[in-house]
Symmetry: C2
Subunit: 133 residues, 2 copies
């Protein structure tokens, strides 16, 4: 797992003021926020910026593997601090999202029945249900 410094360097990505701020805002919010929640957080900060920019920055960070996107059904897209391979659990009683990891030694690719030569660019695993209280 790669965790970049919050001052932030991401290989291959030009780090503008706005991208740094968006990244930092996400690092300070572990609740898998939406783009507009991040936008609201940022309004009260030094560096206010437009919602379109928040979307642009998040897209750039996702494309460069620094953060992850979480889609649950058709709800607004949420963003995840954790760039390592992991899944998400959507707790339907609270609406919250939790990271879930694979048991150690497991490589998800190994258990899928894929044709030889398949190239995988991303893998998303999402559960819904309720966690014990």
């Amino acid at each position: 797992m790669k965790v970049y410094d919050h001052q932030l360097e991401v290989p291959g990505l030009r780090m503008t003021k706005q991208r740094k701020e968006v990244y930092r805002a996400l690092m300070e919010n572990a609740d898998h926020p939406t783009a507009s929640q991040l936008f609201d957080n940022l309004k009260n900060s030094q560096e206010s910026m437009s919602l379109a920019t928040v979307y642009n920055c998040l897209e750039a960070l996702v494309e460069h593997g620094a953060i992850k996107q979480v889609n649950v059904d058709r709800e607004p897209t949420r963003y995840c601090q954790n760039s390592a391979q992991h899944g998400h659990f959507h707790d339907q009683s609270t609406g919250t999202i939790h990271d879930i990891n694979f048991k150690s030694g497991i490589n998800l690719i190994d258990i899928l029945d894929l044709p030889e030569g398949t190239e995988i660019s991303s893998l998303e695993i999402t559960l819904k249900g309720t966690l014990p209280s």
Copy 2:
């Protein structure tokens, strides 16, 4: 795996003309169509119906486990004939979706690190990439 007769009975779901037609239309279209693609298919059939009804019927069928929903990023939701546990592969060079199965003997739940007592109501696994030609 349960495959219902195409005349169709689904336990607990009242089978209206429209729900039967939507189900049948999906069974005849293996390409993981969207709601509006199904709507277009149905226009040329006996039983034409409103787009809202197509959405309603698909929702009812998904809720009752007769079909599955496939979400890839923010693209329009697509629907899947196959109600058994399986994953989806989104081929980025063609835009097509393919079912993928787990290797035999594998139970996905077993490899996830979940707290005791977690209740799972759905599990979605989606890959993106390119398949060999």
